[in-house]
Symmetry: D2
Subunit: 310 residues, 4 copies
């Protein structure tokens, strides 16, 4: 099988290999300069905060579609455990967790996707081993923070949740920016709201998981991410991109182009509901965003508690 | 055994039970108002960022002193796994982790400590069960971000690392604030540097773990935290507080007073080395700090990747 | 709520508390004397072996009905890992697993069930803590081996799998023994076949899990276990006993009577299909059975690979 | 580097590839015929049982030498958890475990060792993937039971524990068989006692782990295993074989020859102390042994609770 020409043309257009040096493992996160962070912090006006993370719990998002990507199971190794018998002394409780790093609200690291036996920046895919991503592990991303913008595609189309076959296009993204009175800047972290998260909140996990298809960005959006020098992108969906994919012969094409070719860190299962309501209310769709991953050495992804501050 | 009078007097002085309502489960984090967050963001000038987290890895901080608090073991559930046989299609890598929530750089949640069968705000300790902290779980802390200040006690005393028996006192804290040209404000997140982390970086884990004692804040510091309405406190040590404790009959007294009486969220294993060097260089010891925990439902603690931005 | 009189009467009849001493933690396993083991070994004629365990895998029996009882997830910590670069030297592969101890073919230990705040032999239920079964942990069962007998209730009734509402009675057990030309002896390990495992093999996990009810032994069978001095009992079902239970006010009555009152170790998810076919063929329903649990300190259960030898 | 000629010669002598067919994945376990099992069962006289397993617990054998081979951490997912509020109803306790499959008393499966990019029977080493041993997984070993013999080398030399540099030779094995009045037969499971386990019981884990060297079988023993058609071999040591190895250029030579060339399943950390004492007392060094692994799909090893019955 050969990848379709439309894919290959887009790939040639958006590929960032070598752009930040042959040894680079950060990709578009390089666009988050100190100045971009400072500009992001300058978005803070009221100090109102929004956590965009789903609760970490056994009864979480995962239904088993990705084998091994298990919901968090947190258990106790000490419950009010005292070193002395007296009750009026120090007692402590401690816990452990077993979880998929991509189980809930998370970032895909640059080790998460390969094709043509290759990772971002031409790094051989076989640098992913049983030890994890030995070259592009997520511990390299020390911080991930800057200006965030919400592109509320669901609101743009006047729906709580986009139809399951809604392809988020470059035009959608531009229109949402216009609706939000936004200028997207180099180094921005872009949050794309489809509203699909409402299905999860309603308890309809299969629909949220995309069993009947999922709205999400497609090929033209990839071009848009590149043209706008976006640093990172997250959605409020399980799959991230439109599913089924636009091209029969390039399943999960957006994943491949984003992660492998652009070196774009992408996020899934972000809960944008409360933020969306607030942005609609005050008309401000930009904010400071702090969403640094946990520094798992060799990690192909990481849970994240993204915090938007307005 | 009865807790010593000195402890009880201090307890009566610093106890915040009821201060934010009988149902409160956030404690001093209530001091981080929107205004405090906005003021914190206003500290950002250059956009320079510092991750204060240790790498998450099997060869980490833990040596077994706290049974069950195991170092992170991250393993792979997919390595360049393709759904189709063709190499030029989408391939994916995914990972899982088993770890103690308090294994590396972390916050102690308010469920982590009890005494007299009681948690913060008079909540019964038996609300900690095999399911975790059913009342004061760390998922209640949606965000933890605001103004951070570094009180560099090691630098104050002109050493790389404080002697193992160095008691960090209220006087130390005031002097370090003065050295840093700082006014500590209500709602600040205070980072106390002892320099002990240098031992870990040098590979001397037993010393870092406090096997021969550990420098850290003591009883007068607790009073200082309360008098200054500090929102949260973190150190660059394993044990957090001075060890052995000042009072023979009140082991880990600071833990008890901080967590149970004040409702003060406290952090351990924070790596303040790079931040310390930078503060010494530019003379600015305040910054924006984002250190929101991961929302583990029922969690008694959480790993955190704290990010300081100047 | 009070337990119904029928339950209480049966309880008084079958309770073994004190029978093997006030400190006993083995219950009916005490019935497996050295002589019983020797008699069991004497059942071996051909040396033909049958493993009665289900494969341990992520795609296993569990569907989530018991929160936290997760299917095994085995991952690699080394894959052909060499200490030297040369390929012609020693390379090694190692794995870890996270699993519920009761996830697949398993024994319920005596810590698995309590009622009236009490475990077997009147041991307080609060001896089960976050550390596990501190008094009745499954590590106390060093070995569990002896004469096994198959009571093939499905075959008795001429069906592949009993109807979901089939109550396995004392009469069933006697009739199956007669069909098998068996005399059940003190210390025997009794395997009860309902045929429900065929549903699992056919891929119908919900039916196997008992979502629509499950055949299994009921109250009269409990009396039969006691009257026959059975050492341990296992079934080829998920729930073990008839479900829904016979008495509205005594859900899982058989679990309570077996484990708490008799101190009877019971097994679930045993695959008896191949053994059943062989017994039908050679007419011999007794065999040597080795089914020792893994010695998890404090364990409330254990996976087991039971081996029948004829 | 090339493997030394002495290794290569021995390899040519003992290699069993193709002996049981090109698709064989059981190796010398094929030697355990039904007749051998029946003969093993015939060893049972008194029914006295010996568990040869170490307790499974966090404070176990592992000290970190093999990264990721972690001691078992068992935690609770339910502690006397009731579905109804009434205390006189069914309550249940359940547990989960995270552990290295080779952490305690275990079998090495045929996926555990490779060299020359090859596993037993010429199977390519790259059939070990992140999914485990896809060809030679330990689930293929349905049962592992038969006649066991104890070759008590420590007793042979009149010591509690062999010196750390004691090489167990073919002569040792023959002499121990003679001492035990044993004829080793095809299909036997051979247990070699060095006494090193006494160090573990005394709390000296580093010595037990072989930090100062370990007694164990060497090259001549490998030839002996092959000449005697041994089905499986286990020792009471951490490393299994003599350490450091006899040949500088063939580290862990016995592992390579046993597992890769012979297809010999080998066991470690078997506790032979109680069995040794009993054999010395009654003079009988043969017994029935049941030591079937847990059927982990793709497993490179498995914990085992071996039971010897006399």
């Amino acid at each position: 099988m050969a990848l379709p020409q439309q894919f290959l043309d887009l790939r040639d257009n958006v590929r960032n290999w070598g752009r930040w040096g042959d040894d680079d493992v950060l990709g578009t996160l390089n666009l988050i300069t100190d100045a971009a962070v400072a500009a992001g912090a300058a978005e803070v006006q009221t100090g109102k905060r929004f956590s965009l993370a789903l609760d970490l719990k056994l009864d979480g998002v995962q239904l088993g579609a990705v084998p091994g990507r298990v919901n968090p199971l947190r258990t106790m190794v000490a419950v009010n455990s005292g070193m002395l018998p007296d009750s009026d002394t120090f007692h402590t409780s401690d816990d452990v967790v077993f979880m998929g790093l991509q189980a809930a609200t998370h970032w895909d690291g640059l080790g998460h996707v390969s094709y043509d036996d290759t990772l971002y920046n031409g790094i051989p895919a076989d640098t992913i081993t049983e030890w994890g991503a030995t070259r592009v592990g997520i511990e390299n991303v020390k911080t991930l923070t800057g200006r965030g913008v919400l592109l509320d595609i669901a609101k743009l189309h006047g729906v709580d949740s986009l139809p399951l076959d809604h392809l988020v296009t470059a035009e959608d993204l531009d229109a949402a920016a216009t609706m939000g009175n936004l200028e997207v800047r180099s180094g921005d972290i872009v949050l794309i709201r489809t509203g699909l998260m409402t299905k999860y909140h309603e308890g309809d996990k299969p629909t949220y998981n995309g069993w009947s298809g999922s709205p999400g960005p497609g090929l033209s959006a990839v071009g848009w991410f590149h043209a706008n020098d976006v640093a990172a992108v997250a959605t409020d969906t399980f799959i991230f991109e439109i599913f089924p994919s636009e091209l029969d012969d390039a399943m999960l094409a957006v994943h491949m182009l984003n992660v492998v070719d652009m070196g774009l860190t992408q996020g899934q299962n972000w809960d944008l509901e409360e933020l969306s309501a607030d942005c609609a209310e005050d008309g401000r769709y930009s904010f400071f965003l702090e969403a640094s991953p946990q520094p798992f050495v060799g990690g192909c992804g990481s849970p994240v508690n993204p915090v938007a501050i307005k």
